[in-house]
Symmetry: C2
Subunit: 312 residues, 2 copies
């Protein structure tokens, strides 16, 4: 058995998996913001709980993996900076002792989600897979030759910060024209908010008002479904930028699969079917086979499974 | 001993290397354009020649590798399409029999050059390296975890066809705004030719006339050295696009080294020193260590050494 932990800004979810990555059950508690001692305590408590519920002896757990938003010193088993967790320099090496004596691994949540989809989700089949998360930002997780690729300093895979529009819109990272700026849910909403200033008669504007003046990716997608011309135009433009970034990743990596997660991927085939068409138009590798574009299938469980399956 | 062959559009160069990739000596003949039988004959002849010169018994050669511009069916040891060689569907599996009984490997010339620089050149040190060739196009070769990465269909690493300028200048590949369009020697020359239409009083224009009306990367670099304002402006713009693409590669791969080859890299530190400054400005990974930008050190020998050191 292997234990995977999705350490999020809101909840800490602990799951227990079979050795090959099937999630059996999970338990969760709110993450104690800024309190590392309390966090370690509840992680151990939840780990014991999932063991008990699955009739697993803690000594039989082969490894514990933690996925969190932040940066790590993996060799020291330490979260050096936990984005949205309010804590830094937290060592997890002995957080589960004395009950668990197995090794503890760490990685960022995006990488864990990619590994989870690769092992147990829609990323299965093939050695090379890119996970693209279209959420608040554009996250990435890269599986090459069957393993997570994280570069020499463990922070590779920042595909969201690949510039696709030279001198384009400013990004939080300091660059201009990043993939993330155009293709995150945030980017889609930003362009919609801007367009709505001159389209107060649109269905999209009406839906925004009904949602207390706040847009989200789902509202924009729903307005497309309702035939709103403005929403459809916005979504088409979004798809063109997305296809640009995806073709870049294909030309660089030639992965068998690209797996889409995050809020915008919730639109499913209505996103993927037109995206495939746009990608196909610019594909330079068609005669040699091409990447399959699929929706992630595990939702939030991907991060738990991936954490459980981390390698040293 | 291992034999590496750089099968180029002009010459076929055969070298013999030690098992760990030190090139001992090489011999070459003009490539017989469009004549596969003759090509196989001269490759075998040159292989025997380098064996004789290095006092190597052909039966002691562990492997023969061929790097060529084109596409391959590696499992069939076949060049499926040889760009600029005028031949296709040439099987090399038995081209060296009966003298040599070792396995024969194939890969494209860009990948072989990257592997050569990684094993014996300035790419040494570290597991992850990207080679960027700034020549007629922008070529790439990717070494990850100590091995060539070529994707599931063996055509990964087309970093030149990463769009950095959405809807930018048209590229031969069919896309618009590719890295190659802005950062190849060809791209630099194209932008200079265009600018010269309105700057007939520049040093650069004079140098172009002295070269029978034809620019090349060296002339542009030399004009920079001579203090020509136009050339310096053009080169600065070129560097900004180059830094953009290089930062993309860093954010995606976090390699220890990026090795620059090709004509423009001949400008050496005059290219690399300002490039490092521009890259540094947009680097999001500085606290975690960063890629070293270096010039390739093996010249044309990189392709021979890399071919000799190919893995199955």
């Amino acid at each position: 058995m292997k234990i995977g932990i999705d350490l999020g800004g809101t909840n800490t979810v602990v799951g227990i998996c079979t050795d090959d990555g099937a999630l059996l059950l999970k338990s969760s508690l709110p993450t104690p913001h800024g309190n590392a001692d309390e966090l370690c305590k509840i992680m151990r408590q939840l780990a014991l709980e999932v063991c008990e519920k699955s009739h697993t002896v803690p000594a039989d757990v082969l490894q514990i993996g933690i996925g969190a938003p932040g940066t790590f010193d993996k060799s020291a088993c330490t979260l050096t900076f936990g984005t949205n967790l309010g804590m830094s320099n937290v060592c997890f090496a002995h957080a589960f002792a004395p009950d668990f004596t197995c090794p503890v691994y760490l990685d960022n949540d995006g990488n864990c989600a990619a590994l989870g989809e690769y092992i147990s989700g829609s990323g299965r089949g093939g050695d090379n897979m890119i996970m693209v998360t279209l959420g608040t930002g554009v996250g990435g997780g890269i599986i090459l030759n069957g393993k997570l690729y994280t570069g020499f300093n463990h922070i590779a895979g920042e595909i969201g910060h690949m510039v696709i529009v030279y001198d384009g819109l400013p990004c939080n990272c300091g660059r201009k024209g990043c993939f993330e700026t155009y293709c995150s849910a945030t980017g889609l909403i930003r362009s919609a908010d801007r367009a709505l200033e001159n389209h107060v008669d649109s269905i999209l504007h009406q839906r925004k008002l009904e949602n207390n003046g706040r847009l989200n990716a789902k509202i924009i997608c729903d307005a497309c479904d309702a035939g709103d011309t403005l929403a459809m135009e916005l979504f088409h433009t979004y798809l063109q930028y997305l296809a640009c970034g995806i073709n870049n990743l294909i030309n660089i990596f030639q992965p068998q699969k690209i797996v889409f997660g995050g809020g915008v991927a919730g639109y499913g085939e209505k996103l993927l079917a037109p995206l495939r068409e746009l990608v196909q138009k610019e594909l330079i590798s068609a005669p040699c086979g091409q990447a399959e574009l699929v929706k992630a299938s595990l939702g939030n469980d991907a991060g738990i499974i991936g954490a459980a399956m981390l390698l040293e």
